[in-house]
């Protein structure tokens, strides 16, 4: 437990992704089974002990610390687990050995609501403050230390020099503490047999279509939808839903878990019902509506009714036990079309192939599709197999050109990690009326990418030289600089004062030359809203 607590502690303070990876990898290499497997599950939020809740901890503390001192401390520290770990009375002597992660997991799993208040203190008494923090975080779930499943998998791959794609393939099919995964990765054993378990297959991805044209005889075109890419997997009657990073998001979309009538692995876009994508009938709502549903661990009936999810299918990898990934796209497409008849249209439809006479015609169709808030087009080689990752020449994404506005730099904030000494996060605004008639700037978005290191240095200098006010890490600056900001779309938002929210804003060009009163007005941004 000491090593795990130390790892957790360093991860809390480390901002660099590379350093985080290196630390997790080192831990995985040096820690024996099954501790490292449990630790991995804990870091990625896959452990759950229903008998221990945050309230269990608070109740334990009530018996040990004056309630006023507890509240004052909790308010100052800001985190219940941390406050409890600091305030837990140190025992006279720490008897017994420090438990291993596996022992802790065993003990926690054996607890129920009645035994927890008696048994948990015994474990806490055997740990120091850092150990107690790790234990409480592990027991109550929600580490919240910025370790995604993807980062953990990459760390595993790095630790044992195996491919991250393979780690992804096995990971979700196995259960903590993943003995088969370590036997393969760390000890050079056979790859785990995961044939009978639902598991994630890494997605086939596309390259952006730069200035190339493709022959539509060789390539088929499909719409690219503005939802989230998912993989729906059913094996031996059990269905799982995976996000693009391979995270299991089944619990967030329970309505999709009992609607696939046969074992299969399908690739598609997760959307919620609404009118704005693909017309009224069976249409999809905006990305905004989908976003309301992401990240929830439990889903209310109300939400299920108001924003039901469905999958717009792109591709099939396996159908009824047949792995068709080696087959050309045209055959897989035909198999998918044939499959559609067996799928309930309440939860599935198919992303239509876009027919065009030639590339120029396709470009026109793509231009005209802006209205439908479609992200763009996908171009898929008709003879391409389904291959994990991004292979040149097989699939292209042909996104819409970004939308552009001119906005004025208003605030700047220090970045993190390598950029922590630079003001590298910029808030920009547009005019709420005629700038020559006394209009004000209203913040409309924030960007922290799209400039070179040299430009960053120059921007940093400008921020320091034109600071008007300081609010903690944020500086308000004189309105002197115009950014040409690129973004994918803009939506209404109640959370922002401007009433709108941009998707993926980034600095397109720095307009050192442009006077600020020539920046755009907020009306022009509003005219681009697609909800």
């Amino acid at each position: 437990m000491e090593e795990f607590a130390a790892l957790l502690d360093t991860l809390v303070y480390t901002t660099s992704r590379n350093r985080k990876l290196a630390m997790i990898a080192e831990y995985l290499r040096e820690t024996p089974d099954p501790d490292r497997g449990w630790a991995l599950a804990a870091l990625t939020g896959e452990l759950d002990f229903p008998a221990v809740k945050s309230s269990t901890i608070r109740n334990l503390m009530k018996d040990r610390v004056d309630p006023v001192l507890w509240t004052l401390s909790r308010d100052f520290v800001g985190d219940t687990a941390e406050t409890a770990s600091l305030l837990w009375p140190e025992p006279e002597a720490r008897d017994g050995e420090v438990p291993s992660v596996a022992q802790v997991v065993d003990q926690l799993s054996a607890l129920n609501r009645n035994t927890a208040p008696k048994e948990l203190p015994k474990v806490l008494d055997r740990l120091d403050a850092n150990g107690r923090f790790a234990l409480i975080k592990l027991a109550t779930g929600g580490m919240r230390i910025g370790i995604s499943a993807r980062l953990a998998k990459t760390a595993f791959a790095q630790a044992f020099d195996v491919s991250v794609e393979e780690v992804e393939e096995y990971w979700h099919a196995l259960e903590a503490p993943y003995p088969e995964l370590f036997a393969w990765g760390a000890d050079g054993g056979d790859p785990p047999d995961v044939s009978n378990r639902p598991r994630f297959r890494p997605f086939m991805l596309a390259h952006p279509l730069e200035d190339t044209e493709v022959d539509l005889g060789e390539y088929a075109a499909e719409w690219k939808w503005d939802g989230i890419r998912v993989q729906l997997v059913r094996v031996a009657g059990e269905t799982r839903l995976y996000s693009r990073s391979g995270d299991d998001i089944s619990a967030t979309f329970p309505e999709l878990l009992d609607v696939l009538p046969m074992d299969a692995v399908l690739d598609g876009e997760l959307l919620v019902r609404g009118a704005s994508q693909g017309g009224e009938e069976g249409g999809a709502a905006s990305f905004n509506a989908l976003q309301q549903r992401l990240g929830r661990k439990t889903v209310s009936k109300k939400i299920l009714k108001e924003a039901p999810a469905f999958v717009r299918l792109y591709d099939a990898l396996l159908i009824e036990g047949d792995d068709i990934r080696e087959q050309p796209w045209s055959k897989r497409r035909a198999a998918l079309e044939a499959l559609m008849a067996k799928l309930p249209d309440s939860h599935f439809d198919i992303s239509a192939v876009v027919e065009a006479d030639d590339f120029k015609h396709l470009a026109e169709i793509r231009e005209g599709a802006r209205e439908d808030a479609i992200e763009g087009l996908m171009l898929k080689r008709r003879d391409s197999p389904y291959i994990a990752g991004r292979k040149v020449g097989l699939w292209y994404k042909w996104k819409h050109d970004p939308l552009l506005i001119d906005a004025v730099l208003m605030y700047a904030q220090r970045g993190s990690g390598k950029r922590s000494s630079f003001y590298s996060d910029y808030t920009f605004g547009c005019w709420d009326g005629d700038p020559d008639g006394g209009a004000e700037l209203l913040p409309v978005g924030k960007a922290y990418s799209g400039f070179t290191d040299a430009e960053l240095k120059k921007l940093d200098r400008l921020v320091r030289q034109t600071t008007l006010n300081r609010f903690g890490p944020v500086r308000e600056v004189e309105r002197t600089l115009v950014f040409e900001v690129a973004f994918d779309s803009v939506h209404t938002s109640k959370r922002h004062k401007s009433g709108l929210a941009m998707r993926f804003p980034r600095i397109h060009r720095i307009r050192w030359d442009k006077p600020v009163h020539e920046a755009d007005r907020i009306e022009s941004l509003r005219a681009l809203i697609r909800d």
Binding site: Y13, T15, L72, T83, L86, L87
Partner: protein, 343 residues
């Protein structure tokens, strides 16, 4: 005969000793001031007369020009040294005795006696051993006026050896980088350096320019700090594998760009709380404080065992609550301008 203790009066900007027409650690310029130590929330320039330990006066001369002649050769502010253990008689039959507080070089508690009543004002203090200053002494009194910077039970400062071990390990693990330690320029910086030397670290330590004079002052007062070099005199490669000490405000400043891949550390009692460390972008938090932690505060009150506790500054609510639970009489003075954010 006037009411008990009416001769000592707390105001928002300092504690007044009424019959002596004199103030302790006043936040504005007065005719006569007794100063506990050199930190800016206790000491300032411009007093007519300043009574303090010789070390504190030296610090005040450096920082606030106390007792230093101006261009015309006049000394506008008079500095009167008081040694530890020495008692001075103030007007109005008030006796003041300076007693070590263990906070920083020259820091003192002040014992005030008048009409048979005894009041101790601690200034800032700690109970842990510190190679750079004389240790705190417990002095029995009727009213104990204490600080409470770390007056919350979550604050327990670990033994400094543990924190030093973390620092030297980070250095050993990263021979091609450097470790940048943020430390308060008066007291903390010199203590960290002295503790590093005590732990056997004999390599040169690099300093931010703002640290240089204070380090020299410490050495002149008998606190050896080993070989110190200025960052500004050296290139990146010289500093690889070295410790660099800078004021906390320089940690994420442009200044740090000249350092070789610094790992950001900070020596402060606040580092006990993860959120505080993350807020400042600290990768290596070192829980090192020159203030008493919760245990020291409460233990000291028990040992001094006064009739009444007055709390000058810090997280006074919790300390008052503790006094209430132990049926001790206590009150908060809520002095303004006393917060050691960079402690």
């Amino acid at each position: 005969m006037s009411a008990p203790f009416s001769w000592i009066r707390p105001e928002p900007w300092g504690v007044q000793i009424v019959p002596a027409d004199c103030w302790i650690d006043p936040g504005k310029a007065v005719d006569r001031a007794l100063v506990t130590h050199g930190h800016a929330d206790h000491a300032r320039g411009g007093h007519g007369e300043t009574y303090a330990t010789p070390e504190t006066l030296a610090i005040m001369a450096l920082r606030y020009r106390t007792g230093v002649a101006d261009e015309s050769g006049e000394i506008p502010t008079k500095a009167i040294p008081v040694e530890y253990g020495q008692t001075i008689r103030l007007p109005g039959e008030v006796d003041a005795t300076y007693i070590p507080a263990g906070h920083v070089l020259g820091s003192a508690q002040i014992l005030l006696e008048h009409a048979g009543e005894r009041v101790v004002i601690t200034g800032d203090y700690k109970r842990r051993a510190d190679p750079t200053c004389a240790p705190f002494q417990v002095v029995p009194c009727d009213i104990f006026i204490t600080e409470a910077t770390f007056g919350l039970p979550v604050f327990t400062h670990p033994p400094i050896e543990e924190e030093m071990a973390k620092l030297t390990k980070a250095l050993a693990d990263n021979p091609d980088k450097s470790v940048l330690v943020g430390a308060y320029a008066l007291g903390k910086a010199q203590r960290v350096i002295a503790e590093l030397r005590a732990a056997g670290h004999s390599e040169p330590i690099y300093l931010h320019g703002a640290m240089e004079k204070m380090c020299r002052l410490y050495e002149e007062h008998g606190v050896p700090l080993g070989e110190l070099r200025l960052v500004s005199d050296h290139g990146k490669d010289d500093m690889r594998g070295s410790i660099i000490v800078a004021p906390p405000s320089a940690l994420n400043d442009r200044w740090s760009r000249r350092l070789p891949e610094p790992i950001t550390a900070m020596a402060s009692g606040w580092m006990r709380v993860r959120g505080r460390a993350r807020q400042r972008g600290v990768e290596l938090p070192l829980v090192i404080s020159d203030h008493a932690d919760w245990c020291e505060l409460t233990q000291t009150i028990d040992e001094v065992d006064p009739q009444e506790v007055w709390v000058t500054h810090g997280r006074e609510e919790a300390l008052l609550r503790w006094c209430e639970l132990g049926q001790r009489k206590a009150r908060a003075l809520a002095l303004v301008g006393r917060e050691d954010e960079d402690e």
